[in-house]
Assembly symmetry: C2
Homo-oligomer: 268 residues x 2
């Protein structure tokens, strides 16, 4: 599968092994300070990133590491690529013990979003591993996955994040009221991977809150699973440097038809 995916899969498993034992424990939720992305760092976030950094150093990997807590960090003497790592996506779930949280890792040779080469997202509760390499499709635990065939909103199960956004509730009300099943699960990268595997039909977040660190890995995985990942305008995400904190509204969809119906129902 190429060294890129091997490295990312191994790294994801190291994070899983470090984090899994403290899921749902009071220790996991202890507050430590403010991370690079502005979220409050919890013990579980710190443990996760520490495990990732330690693994890379042990393996003698040299790269530019972009982490939610540590920010941009050079590892080794001759960095050859960029790794963007969200150690815990779904921290609230992980701390409470709600079984939906993930770690996500994406690799870009240039550090630019559109040059992503490989990605891995691991379920921190059960160790299930989503992965993709550019041009080679997406996988779940090593088996190929692709998005669902559901093309109509009224037959779809979709996930919408409207937390803390009255405006977003208004804008998505027509969508939320029309679906067969509405979900909100609390871990964007894992939700996007669920679109990739056909468990969900779409993921919608119009809050202009999601950072590249939150969605880069999921974006490659869902696109490699033949899904759509775009801004609500229909435009691609701009080709931003992964080292900057940039926020976007995004829609992941199983296919173009469903994407178009979702977009047509967004209230201005």
């Amino acid at each position: 599968m190429g060294w890129e995916l091997s490295l990312l899969s191994e790294l994801a498993k190291e994070i899983y092994l470090a984090v899994h034992p403290i899921l749902g424990t009071p220790k996991a939720g202890e507050t430590l300070g403010l991370g690079f992305g502005g979220d409050r760092t919890k013990f579980i976030d710190a443990i996760s990133e520490k495990a990732a950094l330690q693994y890379l150093k042990e393996k003698g990997v040299s790269c530019i590491f972009v982490g939610e807590e540590c920010g941009v960090m050079e590892i080794g003497s001759k960095p050859e690529f960029y790794l963007i790592v969200d150690g815990v996506d779904g921290t609230n779930n992980a701390v409470r013990g709600l079984k939906f949280a993930s770690a996500s890792i994406a690799m870009s040779p240039t550090g630019m979003l559109r040059d992503l080469e490989a990605a891995a997202v691991i379920d921190l509760f059960d160790g299930g591993l989503y992965s993709a390499r550019r041009g080679e499709g997406a996988k779940y635990n090593g088996k190929p996955i692709r998005t669902s065939n559901v093309e109509r909103l009224e037959s779809s199960i979709i996930s919408v994040d409207v937390s803390r956004s009255q405006e977003s509730i208004k804008r998505t009300a027509q969508i939320m009221g029309r679906v067969k099943g509405l979900r909100a699960l609390g871990s964007a990268s894992l939700e996007i991977c669920h679109v990739a595997s056909g468990i969900l039909d779409a993921y919608v977040d119009l809050r202009n809150m999601l950072r590249t660190i939150d969605f880069a890995a999921g974006m490659l995985i869902v696109r490699e699973a033949e899904g759509i990942f775009l801004q609500p305008s229909g435009e691609d995400i701009p080709n931003v440097p992964l080292t900057e904190v940039r926020r976007f509204s995004v829609i992941a969809s199983a296919n173009r038809k469903l994407f178009d119906e979702i977009v047509s129902l967004i209230s201005l």
Copy 2:
């Protein structure tokens, strides 16, 4: 723990063993006909109920069985109590492979909702078992549980079901916009049990859609965990016969303060 809880726990485990192997498979979603409650029966629903009925017959249990698919059925020659059984709560999740679905069982000596004596809810993906006996507290896998101490909506993680209801989106918009984390998970009884264990702080469904078969077991479990389970008006659920299909709006909450804040934010 008394024979009631032993019976319910064993029954829940039998259902789990029958259903778990087909979770997330195409077979699980095959459509068979219309159930007692008006939902379309899927293969997985039928398998679940069949496993429950078979277990009761093998054990020589005589009771009035109220099932989502079979309706009201007398088992054995001298029924001594009522069992209300939802074989799969979260059928869409169970069919898709989204890891949040449950089976729920409640027992009432008289067949009336307010006389519930014992309840069990099992997670069909991982086998985790919530249970309660009236006056004896609630448990998860045999260990006592209780609701969270979160008393303010802005610090809360709550689950709201607004699927297919524009009106309900409007009525809950103030609530959804104010919480720390919003979830929609797709299995009411398991969501209510998550309130019981403190993983969620509240569960809100104002659609007037939830049937007693959907919430009876969860209601006893969350109340035994010192939580609140009421209609949005603040009134108790009426003392209805479990043999009838009756629908209600419900709020499960960790405590009274949080319940009052939620109710105060419902738009008319």
